[in-house]
Subunit: 384 residues, 4 copies
């Protein structure tokens, strides 16, 4: 198949910039996508850092002003991997410039911002995507397929938690991720948003929630991220943590299911435990990102005595996406979820359909995030 | 050691009657307890059934009227294993008769009843115990010890669920466990009560909760239990299910921890998944009744790179209770938790201290159960 | 059901004496066996110790000379739980006295001895049993049933290991288990014999083997067992270890399967890891004593993409033996395997059939043990 | 860091060609290697297929005659990913042409061939590497480090199996992997060779072995591989399978350890179960390729009662290689092992040291493969 070029301009270059850059590079190697990305330009305010990123990750050029990227005629797609508070301004400018847009989650800091972004992409008729990459783990895609086929029947329960432990140490500094004005929220928007997206993807819309939030450590030394989830701080200056360290909420879904959710950065021993279990009338599924290639499936229709959760290594040709890689039993990892997401994004552009998850999903997700914060503050159930 | 006899009268003879009877029989075989039970009399209204139980389980005699048992002079302990709505009347009568009392959980149908029971045992100076047997799994006892030693440090999270699946089939009949007037509540009082007790035992008192409850199947054929968790029904007559099939709640604890709880009989593939995870500043523990001999322990102080949850098979001499059984690696089961509970009960009687969990715990637990129902109904947080 | 009494005389009273005694006590509580044991007499040379055992374990009387037990008219069954070198003499005397016999494994120290024992029980027409208790784990019984039903199809592989770690410390003393003249062999006869029995039970007879053995620590302080697998020694006197610390062998089976086996007391972290995996044309099973209630089952006929090992908690009514205990998901333990074995033994006596495993199995097992030692010594394959 | 270019010519383009090509592409993205690969030319006999591979995998050009690649002046490295019987001829020619060489395993069909290859690379002073990629899983590298630090102490046991199930179906065709003249051996050389390499890497050299081999299905329809481990056949023409379906062997090591090994393609439910356990005086480790990011570590020095296998997710900065990727808990996959291997290969070239595993390892490995075949045939122990 001959692929047509699609020219990418990326705004931002850290953890997510690396994940997206790699996905663009790997996509044509593994998949027969109608589009083939050209890594035209990467933007960041710190010239030294962005230049290093440009060279390391294989971009043709760099800019220190994101507006120049958005203004370029030779760019088809704007990829936004900057801190959360900048998503709206960049996305709206990109939409106005007629670029297709892919952005990291959460979409924005508030529902209002998110809706402005959605309006902008709709008005300008561009494709848009939000990077809830966990949807694209083959085991999750396979779970979705099983649910759509009715193999679980009526859904009773959705049970999810996303546990991390990287800020338990009080000397972990006050980085952008812990400041409300930059990140919007803490564990909630960073990882809870992923759990919300997975639930919406797998079993549908929420109808109401009740939530509680907690900030266990209220002051930390001023500091900054140094890559990935690492950071360094200056222990002589302290600042106030303005986001949640942990959030938990109960939920009801349109399909009648009952949900329990938790997201925290204070669960010692859990580095990236993004986990869910769905219980239905005919069966159940369980998934855990730390063993992301596996899906546990229980089918009540199995013969009596032979029933039990099956540990399925979702690396067979029949499992979504993985036929592109290696023989069964040869696992893939975190980074591959981004390749699948980009594959879907480009197909949407090439075949002129709106891929998902997109800004509509981002708005819905943001409504949940806002409702959860409101519920925690007002100590009551909030309808969506 | 020479043990003194203690004479037992048991009211009830089904699932829990069997578990308690077995524990009495096994106690002197494995443990050096100062008391040695004599299985004097077992009571039940169905003469044929109670007689069969008496013979099978090794009781000296039987009665069809529980009052006769309570009135007997040669009985030291009344053991109550009847459906929940009868606990109060029997226990109060037994207390008035000066008997030590051990009863199944939940203590009663309401806080009011529970408090009357507590008042009665206090007034009469008898020992009392409530059968939250899961406390007595060696791995749970060991977790308690680790927490007391400060090995987890400040506690941030308590995360528990108790999942069963035995009533998903709509043809499962309307047995006493599904009638509010007999059982008080459904999944909440039956299994959620155990999760509440474990949390109280391990990390202390709750301060407030918010809950939601659901009855997925609202009508069922009239029927009755046939032993264990099996039942038979008459599909021509239907009746209303008046208890919860599932309950979920968020909680706050006195120590500042955040809790998430769920109890359900609609989690396909989970036969008896009584599970908790506790995350603290210095470490975490995880436990699951389906593999009850194991405790997973994470210690943040382990050398960098060598950190990970340890799968501890709690069958070593150093682990509580199990030194009485077999060499390391030779596991014990569900029934042994009752032996340990009885061991504690008898020590309390012999050494004249009030063992735990007891009616005080029953009252606290019942306060939680009532608050949860109220919270679910009024859709708001309830303080304890 | 009315059970007839069967009068037991037990020779020996340590680890296995405890396991058997408990099984006799529990059998009538859980099972409707045609026979009901009476614990008449227990024998041991150390009067103080045997008297304590008699009281603790509920035997009517004790003897310090085993011959007196065998000679008593009011004894129907002789149960032999003494060190291995005494099995033959006691069993033959018991057979001559017309007693049914149950003995611990291995049957004897040599094939010659074992065959004399078999001849004696046959000549005297008594029932006989050897305590390969692991056969009686419900999950193992269920695996057997699946294999008999052809659910695994043609068997290709049998893979087993039995790993312990209780003598890694060089200060662990030279107890009877480490002396060839008393125990016959080390890891081989103690735990390897169990793996051999499980293989014979599940997939049939061996045709040839090649083995290697090792004694990692060749001298130890003189000492003795103090119960279970604990011991104490005198570090000033050393003696030579005359048995194997570890053994490994390859095997061929009559059905064409290929086997790999290993038994060792030097596998750190493995307290009692008795594990097997069987791979067949249509499926596979895996079992591990440390989680003995579980069976992992793979069925190649499962739908494509939905294939995976099922984790079956063998606690359902349909699983062998466990219907007698608790509802699904409430696990049993090590000691229950002995109850099932005794249940089978008594049924054989009551219904006049020869139960299994019996002395025939003991002889076959001993042939394997001898062949393995010979193979290790002569460094060659041995046909059976 | 500025990297110098290194020009690659690859012979072959199937499963392993894809794995290597991807590794070259990813290396500079993730690692600061002194060399940066240029994908100059890829060779294969089937022009259409090699052209497609060239385009898909990003090579500058293609050839249908491997000799032309070896002869080119602008090539620094020859990468051999062809079927096993061609390795020797190509490698020797490449060595004569002064190229550095990296080749798939096994090195050759016989020890003689392997030694000729080793002689050639030595004579010509080129760097050489053999692709035992599993060494380069971070968890394996970390295990190696722990062993070198003495954390396991004296090693008693090495226990490994490599289980696959892709040819159980008798209609799976007679592809090159099942023909002795092309592949040398079956499960032995294909996957058993990996287990041998891991053992040598982790605990050192073998001293003797005894083996058995089996071909369960002796005739299959003629056919060919279609990518990965898939194949298609023509059921009307049958041919003889001339390699082993399964192999098992016992081993002794220079350090006194006892080894058990098994490799099979007939273990239903095991897609790629490459697993080992090492037991030492002070601790044990376990690893399984299907969950390759995890290492299980047992340390006997852990406090009594707190001992247990730790499940370490080897995704921390302290774990070898993974600091280059993502934050802790974000797993990598099969393909990354090749990136690490190439990283080591290029460092060897750039810094002028001989990296490992190399042709010396290939020769040692081949000696084992030959000894195992000889042992199976002659039914005796073979010393190395």
């Amino acid at each position: 198949m001959t692929s047509k070029p699609v020219r990418i301009g990326m705004i931002g270059y850290q953890f997510m910039g690396k994940a997206h850059s790699h996905a663009y590079r790997d996509l044509p190697f593994y998949f027969d996508n109608p589009l083939k990305p050209e890594l035209k330009v990467i933007a960041g305010r710190n010239e030294e850092a962005v230049k290093e990123a440009q060279e390391k990750m294989g971009w043709e050029s760099y800019e220190t002003d994101w507006r120049k990227v958005v203004e370029r005629d030779d760019i088809d797609v704007i990829d936004i991997v900057t801190p959360n508070h900048t998503h709206a301004e960049i996305a709206i400018a990109a939409a106005e410039a007629g670029k297709h847009i892919i952005t990291e989650k959460p979409l924005a800091l508030t529902v209002e911002e998110a809706e402005q972004m959605l309006a902008a992409v709709k008005k300008n008729g561009v494709k848009h995507m939000i990077c809830h990459n966990y949807r694209f783990a083959p085991a999750v895609q396979f779970a979705k397929k099983l649910i759509e086929q009715g193999k679980l029947g009526r859904i009773f329960h959705y049970r999810a938690h996303y546990l991390q432990d990287f800020i338990i140490d009080p000397s972990f500094p006050l980085v952008w991720r812990l400041k409300k004005e930059v990140s919007g929220s803490g564990a909630l928007g960073d990882i809870g948003a992923h759990s919300i997206d997975l639930a919406r993807f797998l079993i549908g819309e929420f109808t109401e929630i009740v939530a509680t939030m907690e900030t266990f450590i209220k002051e930390r030394p001023i500091g900054e991220m140094t890559g990935g989830l690492s950071a360094k701080g200056d222990s002589t200056k302290m600042g106030e943590v303005t986001v949640d360290d942990a959030v938990a909420f109960l939920a009801r879904f349109e399909n009648g299911a009952l949900g329990t959710f938790e997201a925290t950065r204070f669960a010692n021993g859990n580095r990236n435990k993004n986990k869910f279990e769905i219980n239905g009338e005919k069966g159940s599924v369980r998934w855990d990102m730390e063993n992301m290639n596996n899906l546990e499936l229980y089918l009540a229709s199995d013969e009596e005595g032979e029933q039990g959760f099956r540990l399925i290594n979702c690396t067979e040709e029949v499992h979504p996406y993985v036929g592109a890689y290696w023989p069964a039993g040869h696992i893939i990892g975190y980074e591959h979820t981004f390749i699948h997401l980009i594959d879907e994004f480009f197909r949407g552009i090439a075949e002129d359909y709106q891929p998902a998850p997109n800004f509509e999903d981002g708005v819905q997700n943001q409504k949940l995030l806002d409702a959860i914060e409101q519920s925690a503050e007002e100590r009551r159930w909030i309808k969506l």
